[in-house]
Symmetry: C2
Subunit: 165 residues, 2 copies
């Protein structure tokens, strides 16, 4: 196989595999009566953050969504009682999304189905060596698109358009 074709084949495999696995995992969460994947991602990031809270911009940088979308997502989570909004005492412009106890419960409840989904529909088909190579290789790809590596203190990560359009 020519070099060109290998590159294209790998890219295409990436698209197809993510698409297939993502749908399957989403379906598994739904079947288990758990929160949708987007909610899970948001709850997960909030749970991992110090104080179980994150500013909108930081939250958007961590999940694979635009800041706009995150704003609306948080609205839904607030309505569901899983998250609450809180002002930043140090910056009147900023708004925190804070994980509630109910939100943490929902997160913990969804975790098993989520992890099983990843294993069942993705990781199960790869051996540890492949997992490691996939992770390392794709991390290099991602790193190349995030010149400002450390999200930690970096102010500027602009998600741009999503794959969802």
């Amino acid at each position: 196989m020519a070099e060109d074709e290998l590159e294209i084949a790998a890219w295409r495999s990436l698209l197809l595999a993510q698409n297939a696995a993502l749908r399957a995992i989403e379906a598994r969460l739904a079947a288990a009566g758990q929160v949708p994947l987007t909610w899970y991602d948001v709850l997960l990031e909030l749970d991992a953050a110090p104080g179980r809270r994150l500013r909108m911009q930081e939250l958007a940088a961590r999940v694979v969504l635009s800041r706009t979308r995150v704003s609306r997502l948080v609205d839904e989570l607030v309505r569901a009682g899983l998250v609450c909004r809180a002002p930043d005492p140090d910056d009147g412009r900023a708004a925190f999304a804070v994980l509630t106890d109910a939100g943490r419960d929902r997160l913990r409840a969804a975790a098993p189905a989520y992890l099983e989904g990843i294993r069942e529909h993705f990781a199960r088909h790869l051996d540890p060596g492949e997992l490691r190579t996939v992770r390392d290789a794709l991390d290099k790809v991602t790193a190349a698109h995030r010149p400002l590596a450390r999200i930690q203190a970096s102010p500027a990560v602009r998600p741009g358009r999503g794959p969802g359009g």
Copy 2:
């Protein structure tokens, strides 16, 4: 790193890398004044098909979109003169999407930007060994979600539900 964490890390790397690379490639096509990625995929599959034509269902099975979406996408391509619809003489229900000469021209015009995009934003960061591992590993994942594998020459391909579900 625990086994669990490695699996999750690989999955997350997949999501992030595809997201980043996809946006960048799409942007490159747009910057070059070429067709959007969805159009490109459709044109590419049609060009590769015998007679440069494909039934809606088969087209939807090849691109990563639902049959519904493909139907509307073909509408747009017809309006742009890149594709035309044709009835199947053997089956009154079926409809072919046929690549026009203009469509082939647009495809060829977009190809360089597309290939450079894949290389620049994805393949460039991986060595041949990694590319091969990524391709093979992810193909296994995809295959597991497509019980009726061979689209190639099998006349009785039952794509079942489209990837869009």
